[in-house]
């Protein structure tokens, strides 16, 4: 029995990812999630074509209107069309999520490889990561945005930095396990150099967990961006993002709760889909990696 399990985990990455696409293997949830996510992405990409109004055009006469034929989801406090703003807002949110994931993974993998392979560097790096983990991420993020100003770049940086230690820990643990594998020792015996062992034998081991972790980071980055904007420490309020739209809705919550609820719903669908796909990827890539890295 154990041999069967092991050979499933031994298959090359591409083969294991393929098994994720087959609904017979994983159930319907990831499938539906993928379709929902695709819909959200298409909606935001083609938002200029789909939008019924100019998302920035104010109309003092049409403030805080409920949904109607002219305004699918009603209007906000400046009379702007909520639907048009919402689908445009997704663009920035998704962009921030993807950028944060790429940067966090890049930094994390590099630092994690070094920490996992070189004992001396390990102690120092891991203490620094412990320190970063100890600081509540939202506090670092709002602190950084408050200091650096509300640009997209500083928001991405603020979201990325707290994610890095988790990636580092994950990569390090993968490297620590993998370097004990006989095939790595065999490679040493075969005269392979340290960089070759690091990048050709150990790095590929981190790919599967990184794909999974990457999806989780995208999801959590989208949430954090919304949170930052909601607290008034996000991207400049002139740019509609899901967080900004909802933040503006706070003061009108009793009059028109839709300003918070609709973008919130779309955001939840988007993040939920990404999380479900992450879970499916995890199950397909590594049956042993059951626990979510928290």
């Amino acid at each position: 029995m154990t041999n069967i399990d092991r050979s499933a985990a031994d298959k090359p990455l591409a083969l294991r990812l393929l098994s994720m696409v087959s609904p017979a293997q994983t159930g319907l949830a990831p499938f539906i999630a993928a379709i929902m996510l695709l819909a959200v992405i298409l909606l935001t990409i083609f938002s200029p074509q789909i939008a019924t109004h100019d998302p920035l055009a104010m109309d003092p006469l049409m403030r805080l209107k409920p949904p109607s034929e002219a305004h699918l989801l009603g209007t906000d406090g400046y009379g702007r069309d909520l639907f048009s703003r919402m689908i445009l807002g997704g663009r920035i949110s998704l962009l921030i999520g993807i950028c944060a994931a790429v940067v966090a993974l890049g930094l994390g993998v590099l630092i994690g490889l070094v920490a996992g392979y070189f004992r001396l560097a390990d102690a120092i790096i891991m203490r620094a990561m412990d320190a970063l983990m100890a600081m509540p991420s939202i506090l670092i993020a709002i602190g950084l945005v408050a200091l650096n100003g509300p640009s997209i770049g500083s928001v991405i940086m603020a979201i990325t930095i707290p994610e890095v230690p988790r990636v580092v820990r994950l990569v390090r643990s993968v490297v620590l396990t993998a370097r004990e594998e006989p095939y790595v020792e065999a490679a040493m015996a075969l005269g392979s150099s340290t960089p070759k062992i690091l990048f050709q034998h150990l790095l590929p081991n981190t790919m599967a967990p990184m794909i999974v972790q990457g999806t989780y980071i995208i999801a959590s980055a989208i949430l954090t961006e919304a949170l930052l904007s909601f607290l008034g420490a996000g991207i400049s309020t002139e740019i509609p993002t899901w967080g900004n739209i909802m933040a503006e809705g706070r003061q009108y919550f009793r009059i028109n709760p839709g300003i918070i609820l609709w973008p919130g719903l779309l955001l939840t669908i988007c993040v939920l889909s990404i999380n479900l796909i992450g879970d499916a990827a995890r199950d397909a890539l590594d049956p042993r990696m059951k626990k979510r890295q928290a």
Binding site: E181, A189, L190, S192
Partner: protein
């Protein structure tokens, strides 16, 4: 010691399995057991013997009603215990039978006990569940059974946690737990496989002793023909979910009917050591001088302690010969292997490769030497990078030393032929091969660099006995062709006897005896070597010849 030949025909039949069919659950039903029938009488030991995947463990789990629910289901057949069909019982009735009427012990004593419960409480739990005794009475009963399994210092062990006990002690606890209610049937699933031979011997005789005392019927599952010869009254040989042959132990060992049984018996290496080959050259290609490795532990506040994993290892090995390093777990044999390979740096002594000391060379100074020194590991499932094709794995070494890719591939093709794998194996991944095939690929990869010395660290221990024989033959053939020197690390005296010219016996980091295999294994001087040989199961029997060994 000889084969069991007890007449038990007057005893009642305790267990009767008839035409048991087990299939995988789900839409695609795949048969795992194809109609297994056997019966066991009171006081009788029936051995189910077979290689991995033969269905012997599934038979035992089905009898206990412990098949993994969502994976395997019983399709048809009956399992009768004292006349009652267990398969017809409700889950709660079956739960009630367990431990009371039938009990089981497992392969891994290290993981089979709950780590957060004291062992006394774990045995007592059986009484809690199945009896209405008072606290004092329960404790007396538990102490009694713990004494029956010959645990030392019973009062202390009663209050110990599993991690405070040795593997052998834990297996005794398991046996105590299984037998406390004197069940009619004991199922033992490879109960000694994870133990050292000396402990194995004690556990086997303990099971036999308690069986005698309580008249227990024992279903013993094993892959080891030596163990079978020690304890079986009757044997059932299994393969692919079928019983191919069954009968009294002497009948099966002396006149095996089925061709598979004959092959299986023929693969069991003989304990009679081979004659050492002539040492023609006399020049040593690799040698150790007082080699040792000490680990220092402890941090800046804690007490410093040191563990001498191995020390005082000396040997000379010339081309074309094989040195065996033999010992039980914790003997330091693997530390020696890793030191020689320079996967770790020894703390004492010298390693002479072609006369040059490599014990403390830096990684870059070591690189040109590595070529001459290759290794094959124990676990065939982990010794090849699962993400690399066979071609990439096999050419890794030669490319490191500047061979052209085309030449390396040509050499890989040639070697694959020698290890009897098809040429198209080059483009495939490790998961597409069986354990034995992977081990042959690992050997081929090791000899790609034309090394002078090959270190084989328990290289056949994870393989079934028939595959083991093929791999040992392959090593011998390679040695004959290339004159490579082999250092063979093993815990298995049979394997050592079959292939080693010289043997070095280790115990707790120390070499207790060394010399030609024919002398060390035939006329051991040291008590420990003698104990090891004594403990080798089935040592009185020549399996290939089908007759007792005459000393």
């Amino acid at each position: 010691m000889e084969l069991r030949a007890r007449d038990l025909s007057h005893e009642p039949v305790i267990v009767q399995i008839e035409d048991l069919v087990v299939e995988t659950a789900g839409k695609t039903r795949f048969p795992v057991l194809k109609g297994v029938s056997l019966n066991i009488r009171r006081g009788e030991t029936v051995c189910l013997v077979g290689e991995s995947g033969s269905g012997k463990s599934v038979t035992s789990l089905a009898t206990m009603g412990l098949l993994p629910k969502d994976a395997l289901v019983v399709r048809s057949g009956t399992i009768r215990l004292k006349g009652e069909n267990l398969l017809a019982l409700s889950p709660s009735a079956m739960k009630d039978r367990r431990a009371r009427d039938l009990a089981m012990i497992f392969q891994e004593p290290m993981t089979a006990l709950n780590p957060v419960m004291k062992v006394g409480a774990q045995i007592t739990e059986v009484l809690d569940l199945h009896s209405r005794m008072g606290t004092a009475e329960k404790r007396a009963r538990v102490i009694d059974i713990m004494e029956q399994v010959h645990l030392p210092d019973v009062q202390r062990i009663y209050d110990s946690y599993p991690h405070q006990l040795s593997g052998g002690q834990r297996q005794r606890i398991m046996i105590a737990m299984a037998l406390i209610l004197e069940p009619a049937l004991l199922i033992a699933d490879e109960p000694t496989t994870a133990l050292d031979v000396t402990t194995q011997k004690q556990i086997l005789s303990l099971i036999a002793e308690l069986q005698e005392k309580h008249g227990t019927a024992v279903l013993f599952i094993t892959h080891d023909m030596g163990v079978v010869a020690e304890i079986a009254d009757r044997v059932c040989v299994m393969r692919h979910g079928e019983i191919l042959e069954s009968g009294p132990i002497r009948e099966v060992l002396e006149q095996p009917k089925h061709v598979y049984t004959r092959a299986l018996l023929g693969s069991v290496p003989s304990l009679v050591p081979r004659e050492a080959r002539d040492d023609a050259s006399g020049a040593s290609v690799i040698a150790a001088r007082n080699l040792g490795k000490t680990y220092h532990t402890g941090s800046f506040l804690g007490k410093k302690s040191q563990v001498r994993a191995s020390f005082g290892v000396n040997f000379d090995l010339s081309p074309g010969r094989t040195l065996g390093i033999v010992g039980e777990s914790g003997s330091g044999k693997t530390t020696v292997a890793r030191s020689i390979m320079r996967l770790i740096e020894p703390t004492e002594g010298q390693i002479l490769l072609d006369g040059d000391d490599i014990a403390h060379l830096s990684p870059s100074a070591m690189k040109p030497k590595r070529k001459k020194l290759q290794v094959v590991f124990q676990d065939p499932f982990r010794s090849l990078n699962p993400r690399w094709t066979i071609a990439r794995s096999m050419t890794e070494g030669p490319l490191n030393y500047g061979m052209s890719r085309a030449d390396a591939l040509a050499e890989a093709k040639r070697l694959l032929k020698i290890v009897s794998l098809p040429e198209d194996a080059l483009g495939r991944y490790p998961h597409q091969f069986s354990g034995g095939q992977r081990q042959r690929i690992a050997i081929a990869r090791a000899v790609m660099l034309k090394p002078d010395v090959l270190v084989a660290d328990e290289a056949v221990s994870a393989l079934d006995v028939s595959v083991q024989a093929q791999v040992l033959d392959l090593l011998a053939e390679l040695q004959r062709q290339t004159g490579i020197a082999i250092i063979f690390i093993t815990h298995d005296l049979r394997v050592a006897a079959q292939i080693c010219d010289e043997v070095l016996v280790m115990k707790r980091g120390e070499v207790v005896e060394q010399g030609p295999a024919s002398r060390v294994l035939h006329q051991p001087q040291h008590d420990y070597t003698r104990a090891l040989i004594d403990a080798a199961p089935g040592r009185f029997w020549d399996f290939a010849a089908g007759k007792p060994l005459v000393a």
